[in-house]
Symmetry: C2
């Protein structure tokens, strides 16, 4: 019996030691794109502004140009925008996730049969 | 220019909210299989014995039968063995990871061209 309801796999792609880009950073990038603000994205993701800013700074430095641009106004001040490169990175990362997930859909459905829900 | 050296993607598969099985638990399971002991595996993974034991207990309860069996002797006492089901789960999880990774090998190699190393 397949158990599609109990198992919703998510495939996550890390680069190197997750330095350049991993699931947390990509989710943050997506949230900044949606909210137009690092602080609003940080709130959505329940992380400190400082932590979000550090992740953005680290992402920016790992790519050939910035993924997020911050308006003048200082930390917490001027809002933030995901650049064209940032949007491209986001779209490509999500596409890779989706393709990888599709490739193992059948295996994961079979695997789910080993699980019990609720736990014993 | 491809940058295969700078990007070594790892694909990780989470089930649901990573409750049943995720990368941390699978690595722990693998380490128990290698060391024959929860406490040795915990040391290898730089986590407390208590944390490792909790993860094992949670894994066991999420599957139709135990993935790790512990010998009598109490916590830290009698050693631990990965069961046949545990070995099957481990092998299938790694196979799924590998197949998913292969499916997006080309996309990830292209993606790597957007990265700079060392970071700017």
């Amino acid at each position: 019996m397949a158990n599609s309801a109990k198992t919703q796999p998510s495939i996550r792609i890390l680069f190197g030691a997750a330095v350049a880009l991993g699931p947390g950073k990509v989710d943050l990038l997506e949230s900044i794109a949606e909210t137009g603000s690092i602080s609003a994205a940080a709130r959505t993701m329940k992380m400190s502004y400082r932590r979000a800013w550090t992740l953005v700074d680290s992402m920016n430095k790992c790519f050939c140009s910035d993924l997020v641009s911050t308006a003048t106004g200082g930390q917490g001040g001027g809002g933030a925008a995901v650049t064209d490169l940032g949007l491209e990175v986001l779209a490509r990362y999500r596409a890779i996730e989706a393709k990888a997930a599709r490739s193992v859909e059948a295996e994961i459905a079979d695997f789910a049969d080993l699980l019990v829900e609720p736990p014993r």
